[in-house]
């Protein structure tokens, strides 16, 4: 009970911190914020339910007025901005990434990479594109064009989520709530 609670709270803080640290430059020089990596990790490390709960807690604090979203954004204005689809997709992405990590019969690194890819890239961008299409009054393909450049970074983040989850499985097998 206490363990679930502290894991949810600490990973909500981790999502925030990953959005606040300076951008990480990848080898190719593509700067990415690690926030959506934090969303993926919530699922792949904490599992579906706890991962989604951590993301919801993070969103709650952001909407209440803490500037925790990457770029120092926060507050109710987020609900009316074109990126609303991504916010709605965050907890779903973490849930799906967690469910796949838990249930896919593959080694932990592969299962969590696939989970992070399907949840954090495919589903999340799906939500994001629908959101932009509604808010900007554009067709789905037009909105998808806006999201496309970010998917390169998201692919790299899915691989990183897999690597980090595998490292945790090796270093702290008991702490990996998604595989217990």
């Amino acid at each position: 009970m206490e363990k679930n609670l502290t894991h949810i709270a600490l990973f909500a803080a981790l999502i925030a911190v990953l959005g606040l640290v300076p951008k990480i430059d990848l080898a190719s020089g593509v700067p990415i914020t690690a926030q959506s990596l934090g969303i993926m990790l919530c699922g792949t490390v904490l599992g579906a339910r706890n991962g989604a709960a951590a993301v919801l807690l993070f969103l709650f604090l952001t909407l209440c007025g803490l500037p925790l979203l990457a770029g120092g954004r926060g507050g109710f204005g987020l609900l009316a901005s074109p990126t609303i689809g991504y916010l709605i997709g965050f907890p779903v992405a973490a849930f799906v990434a967690g469910a796949i990590t838990t249930h896919l019969r593959a080694n932990i690194g592969l299962a969590s990479t696939i989970g992070a890819f399907l949840g954090g890239l495919v589903l999340l961008n799906g939500f994001g594109v629908v959101g932009m299409s509604v808010m900007l009054d554009k067709t789905l393909p037009e909105a998808a064009l806006l999201a496309a450049p970010y998917m390169i970074g998201d692919t790299i983040k899915a691989v990183l989520a897999g690597l980090i989850t595998q490292t945790i499985a090796a270093a702290r097998p008991a702490a990996l709530l998604s595989r217990r």
Binding site: T6, A9, C64, G75, L78, I168
Partner: protein, 199 residues
């Protein structure tokens, strides 16, 4: 940690958070119901006028909070100039600006503690779905407390990396950062149990 609440006291700071959220919901519904660019321009002007009552520096801070919308405004403007439908483009941009600015106004004029308390009250019916209000409150406090702790540790990890390597710290420091978060969670759970648990 800084919040988005404006340090400039306005008349709206004194209104109850629940009333402001209710008014915001009504405003947003109305904005999305309006279709004509002229009506939306009037609505946006009204929102701007309300923000202007907060004074010069308050209005500047409101404007700064709209910056993330700039790329979308540019894209929509270009798109609708190319497709020769400037009226529709203006309607989309004005609606977006008015709705986001109105919502930011509520955020900027409500203290974080008031906002959390109001939303916690609104979430009380969720107790039936298993969301214990006391556990929820504890989780909120833990997250807020641990964000600066983790930020500080990120900085320490960066310094440790730079002390050893001529290259810049890349994604590799995310591993110890995540491991440390897990260890913190473990230790905090232990400490909570030692003090009688969350029950």
């Amino acid at each position: 940690m800084l919040t988005l609440t404006s340090p400039v006291e306005t008349w709206a700071h004194r209104l109850p958070a629940g009333a402001k959220l209710g008014a915001l919901t009504a405003t947003t519904v109305l904005l999305f119901a309006l279709k004509s660019p002229l009506a939306l321009a009037a609505a946006a002007t009204l929102v701007a006028a309300i923000i202007a009552t907060g004074g010069h520096s308050f209005a500047r801070a409101s404007l700064a909070m709209l910056r993330p919308l700039l790329p979308f405004i540019v894209i929509v403007a270009l798109w609708h100039l190319i497709t020769r439908a400037p009226g529709e483009g203006a309607a989309i941009v004005l609606r977006m600006l008015a709705a986001v600015a109105a919502a930011n106004f509520v955020t900027m004029t409500t203290r974080l503690a008031d906002m959390i308390a109001t939303l916690q009250r609104a979430a009380r019916p969720l107790a039936r779905l298993g969301l214990n209000p006391r556990t929820f409150a504890l989780a909120i406090a833990l997250t807020i407390r641990f964000i600066p702790v983790m930020l500080k540790r990120m900085t320490t990890l960066r310094h440790a990396w730079r002390a050893r390597s001529p290259r810049r710290p890349g994604w590799r420091i995310l591993m110890p950062a995540t491991l440390a978060a897990l260890d913190d969670a473990e230790n905090t759970a232990e400490a909570l149990r030692a003090r009688g648990g969350t029950g």
